[in-house]
Amino acid sequence: MSYISLSHEDKKKMLAVIGISSLDELFCCIPEEIRLKRDLNLPSPLVEPELIHHFEEIGKRNSDSSYLSFLGAGAYRHFIPYVVDYLSSRGEFISPYTPYQPEVSQGTLQVIFEYQTLICQLTEMEIANASLYEGASAAAEAVLMAHRLRGNPKILVANTLHPQYKSVIQTYVKNLPIEIKEVNYNERGELDLDDFARKIDAETSAVVCQSPNFMGIVENLDRIAELARKHQALFIVVVAEAASLGILKAPGACGADIVAGEGQSFGLPLSFGGPYLGFMACKKDFIRQFPGRIAGETKDAEGRKGFVLTLSTREQHIRREKATSNICSNQAWCGLRATIFLETLGRKGMRELAYQNIQKANYALEKLSEINGVKRRFSGPVFNEFVLEFAGGWPKVEGFLRQNGVLGGLSLEPFFPELKNCALFCVTEMHKKDNIDRLVRLVGEVLR
């Protein structure tokens, strides 16, 4: 297939204007001896019907989506209203670049402005940026930002932060004067306040805590914020399951200084892990150290309201090495989908969705923990995920479930060696009662 729009005649005329006789001459600035003199070794080109067939065939070698799945752990299956697909597929949204020219990008810019407002409302923070890549790198950006603000070397991280987020933070700080210390969890699955109190000191720039945490437990953020404040450390709240914001007390209301998270739950399909949506919000005072693009309101030459990218003196294209971040492209289109999702669900829909997650997950948790040989591992309150311990071993249960078309929870041992035979289950509004009952029946059967 070719996507070129020049006719033979066009090419001839254009070469004549340039004053050369062949396309090859255009490349004379590449010295002959370093030019590639063979065809690239690639498969013969496919035309549209072949291409579709090719990908359908590759797709057939994926079968996970035909299972009844209880996997979550940073990637959540939620309902996506059709208007999200319909509106976000418009070429006017998919095919422009970053809105550098605001006069011809008002659509993109107003959507970003609305998105920033929606994120502020959900988190109860004062400002939000236009998006970051995904949750883990958003958490890492929050750590870098806190370090710029406070300058102290130590960052305390709850060890119930998503392990992949922890891993990305480690990668980002490796070559910087930042030291990461983990804070243990307690028997309820919450951040251990005693361990936290022991580890926090005057050298601490920030404490990072996820809620609901990786074990699915909703943290008591107020108490953590209080202790952080006492030591002048910034409090970074990470939200990996953004649907929880519909009903749980907002991080901002709990004393968060910076909120970073994953917005995949807002209208983005699982997509084998990406593209997702990093979001970030903070207090107004921190604006100069805030990373990423930001849209702001202004007026045009006739005094009408309009929107522009603003505060770009923080950014790499002006500040170069002194920028607050190297981010250039973000995830604008994912932010657009989130905006449509949130505007469609609205004030009531967001709450109802979150409420159903709590009810269904707790229903499943209650039923499953009634089974002999299954134990609720942590006693803290849960949103839509929970950890179960299987006395007789998780692999046996996992295998049996798979044979019966069910993907049970995620094995936790690879991330937390002490959680042998534990698995993390996720139940959302997408699971019907029948689905949950089937899981319960199968687990009961294999453990009988």
Partner: protein, 484 residues
Amino acid sequence: MIREPLIFEISAEGKRAFDLPKLDVLEKKEFLNNLPLREDIKGFPQVSEIEVVRHLTRLSQTNFCIDTTFYPLGSCTMKYNPKVNEKVAQLGNFLHSHPHAPQDLVQGNLEVLKSIEDFLCEITGMEAFTLQPSAGAQGELVGMMLIHAYLADRGSPRKVVLVPDSAHGTNPSSAHICGYLAQEIKSNERGTIDLAGLIQQMTEDVAALMITNPNTLGVFESDILKIAEIVHAKGGLVYMDGANMNALVGKFRPGDMGVDVIHLNLHKTFSTPHGGGGPGAGPVGVKKHLIPYLPFPVVEKGPAGYVFNHNRPKSIGRVGSFYGNFLVIIKALAYILSLGAEGLRETAEIAVLNSNYLRKSLEGVYHLKYSTPTLHECVFSDKLQKEHGVKNIDIAKRLIDYGHHPPTMSFPLIVPGALMVEPTETESKKDLDLFIEAMKKIATEARETPEVVKSAPHTSYVRRLDETSAARNPVLRWEGDEEK
């Protein structure tokens, strides 16, 4: 034109656009015990479905985009985004696949990852790729981290990264975030890296040179072999910013010519749509000596199929939760498969033809600081128009009135008043001619009626926006009546 209000301004109690099925499990209030709950989401919109649809549709109509408009934004490679690639990325078995699913159930996904890695190696001459970086800038950062890890491992940690003065702003910024000191190297009168200067600055404290090739002027760094030799002789590495790879596909392989690390922008060279500013994808390719340091997990083909290898003791670690922007990667793979070797080479050839046609047609009308031959883009300036008080931004805004998206102006910093034009290969001669004609008219207007240019745009949805006051008095969210 009617101004589209903010969604919050049309929100009112009692309207809704969404319903969930009734809760089908036994509802228990006690499940809420011990949970810290919020009462409400203050200010959150309540609108009907048609209001959402009209709101977003109308907003979309105020955007210029590739599907409607010539978009010669230099260095951004705004080429046509083939629609079938969207379709294949939406196939259910990709779309609904969970990133934690057992590997044997996602062999198709792993095959996608492995095959595009292999193709990118063939296209660039590199020996391995990571697909984890979500954008070009993250790719740059990963590249810097790889170099850092490699040099530290050899007991030679260094402090400095050299960046040409013509580079994109992300280059020095990425080096800095990796803990390096970014040191500028000056361009010579051709607009390329000055070898004598490089020799002087290339000490044993320099970890790497970041080079963009062709550079942001569109000029090919034809001394690339010598440059690499100078850098390697002092134990440093060559990093290539592959943002401009569209000029080179099928013509030149950086991996054969001394480049140790490269990032590509799949949303530029490989046509995945830019989405109004992402999601992109910034895979990083390396030569053999850097493979151990790539982010984990790495996809490998084993006897029983594809596997993710997490056991990478020298790896720099993860840079994202999962495996990169997977659906973007699928679209790029679809693009490579539909073009093949010949089609890809043709994209480079026609991109360079289109660019040189524009250059030749506008030379003399607009000033060109460097007379060096260029490939896929060229950088004019406002030098001639400035005599009449007309600046690059005025020319850019006036182009909007003629129906074209403006060129890039924020860099390269070595060309004051830059107008960086990159037409890409997918534009027709007719559209190029319309742009040329508009640019010529604007040059005439700059002489005869400069006020018309300076007060442009005149026909857009909004007139010129005041960016200074937006930064001075930041209003970054709607703060209307939240109690409504």
